[in-house]
């Protein structure tokens, strides 16, 4: 078959995998709903969780579409579509594709038309590189969970602090990242301040949402506080970039 980075057969492969992923997500959702019912979790609470999760997902998912568009210029649509829907993330896939391309003397973003051989080389590098997590889960997922349960039984208080410390560790690493370019100011480049401002604006929006909830008792504002602060922060990035970028 004649090769093209947007060959129909590549679309078919991607769609087949996506059908499988959707099947797994739907069966997981159904099983968790059944379990919630058994545990006697309030139906209204469950509905709220589903609605909030769906609304929250929209903006980050659109950002993933932007990633697909960015990579599609070099790699066609089906490959980035697959890689960013399954296992990958933009930063991982960009680096993997760039490493594979540079090994062939190409440059990601260079816009060179790929041959079939170059294309499959890139797919191999991307696929093999990203595989360790799910393979490891097959072997140790259950054991890892047993360890967690054991710790839980031993000391409930510590188990709770442990899980909070995990979240705080992750969140503070990303907060640090927000500040990574501030020193560019020394060279007269103020663009490094944009993420810092966006971060604080989003924080303030979150605090304001909490305050409004307290004053007015509007439950919905609390439910959607995170998506509101996310989109509010992103929206403020537009004038901030025009000003500082």
């Amino acid at each position: 078959m004649a090769f093209s980075i947007n060959s129909p057969v590549l679309y078919v492969i991607t769609i087949c995998v996506l059908v499988l992923v959707l099947t797994q997500a739907v069966t997981t959702l159904r099983r968790s709903l059944r379990r919630a019912d058994e545990l006697g979790i309030d139906k209204a609470k469950v509905k709220k969780v589903l609605r909030t999760a769906a609304v929250f997902t929209i903006a980050p998912a659109v950002a993933i579409v932007v990633g697909v568009i960015t990579l599609s210029k070099d790699l066609g649509i089906p490959l980035p579509w697959l890689r960013l829907s399954v296992l990958g993330s933009l930063s991982y896939e960009t680096v993997a594709a760039a490493n594979a391309e540079s090994a062939m003397g190409l440059r990601l973003g260079g816009g060179a038309a790929l041959t079939a051989s170059q294309y499959v080389t890139i797919v191999f590098v991307m696929s093999v590189s990203i595989m360790s997590g799910i393979i490891l889960l097959v072997f140790i997922g259950k054991r890892l969970h047993k360890g967690m349960v054991k710790r839980e039984m031993k000391d409930k208080k510590w188990a709770e602090i442990f899980s909070n410390a995990l979240f705080i560790g992750m969140i503070t690493a990303f907060v640090g990242f927000v500040f990574s370019d501030v020193l560019l100011v020394r060279e007269g480049n103020t663009s490094g301040l944009i993420p810092v401002f966006v971060f604080f604006i989003s924080m303030v929006i979150m605090i304001v949402c909490g305050a409004i909830k307290k004053k007015t008792n509007w439950g919905w504002i609390n439910d959607y506080a995170l998506p509101i602060s996310l989109i509010g922060g992103m929206a403020c990035a537009i004038p901030l970039t025009a000003w500082l970028g």
Partner: protein, 222 residues
């Protein structure tokens, strides 16, 4: 008690089967494409590309399992690792859901709520990307316009601003040290940037755990 065991058993069984199936399929795809297009990979480039990429990604992948699995809970973890985008989407979504529902992450309710949120988020993400691909021609100029592009470039700060304040406010004592440390490290170590933040997550998690353990033993976290 028996019921509980059977739910967890089915979570692990299904999760592991799905991960195994996906691993085989994703590795199989490039082989299939070789057969369809009657081609072979450029072996030298494949080797060089893998040497440059795989060792670091494998290590990161292994560390991610140990870091994110306890945060996501088993049900959410198996699905999150398959659908990807954990730190920028699935985990914040699960954290927000548990926070909203007022359940603890280490409780059974927490596990179920987190799983639900991640499943819905995975479905919505997949559907939005499908719509994005269908509408890619009219969408590209809009999403890449100089007006909107900066908004998407700042997704992570906008996401973690809202998320951070909620969790920091509840855990002030254990937050102060890692927060200051990370900000200083990211400001003054040039190697720390968007490409390396993924590696810093487990590092910071371990630092925070050690700090929390010491504070707990000293009775500071009453």
């Amino acid at each position: 008690m028996k019921k509980e065991r059977s739910y967890m058993d089915s979570v692990h069984f299904n999760g592991r089967v799905w991960c195994a199936i996906m691993a085989v399929i994703l590795i199989g795809i490039p082989f299939l494409e070789c057969a369809i297009f009657r081609t072979t990979p450029d072996m030298r480039a494949l080797l060089l590309g893998l040497i440059a990429t795989a060792p670091m990604y494998w290590i990161v992948g292994v560390i991610e399992v140990f870091t994110y699995f306890p945060m996501l809970g088993p049900g959410g973890a198996y699905l999150s690792f398959i659908t990807g985008n954990i730190s920028n989407l699935k985990l914040p979504c699960a954290l927000n859901a548990m926070e909203q529902a007022g359940v603890k992450a280490n409780s059974e309710e927490g596990e179920v709520i987190s799983t639900m949120a991640i499943a819905v988020s995975s479905i919505v993400t997949t559907v939005i990307i499908i719509l994005g691909v269908i509408l890619i021609v009219p969408l590209t100029p809009v999403l890449e316009s100089p007006v909107l592009a900066p908004a998407f470039a700042q997704l992570v700060p906008a996401l973690f601003g809202g998320l951070a304040i909620v969790f920091i406010a509840k855990n002030v004592k254990i937050t102060i040290f890692p927060l200051i440390l990370m900000i200083l490290l990211f400001i003054f170590v040039p190697a720390l940037n968007s490409g390396t933040v993924g590696i810093m997550v487990p590092v910071c998690v371990i630092i925070t755990l050690i700090e929390a353990r010491i504070m707990y033993k000293k009775g500071i976290l009453g």
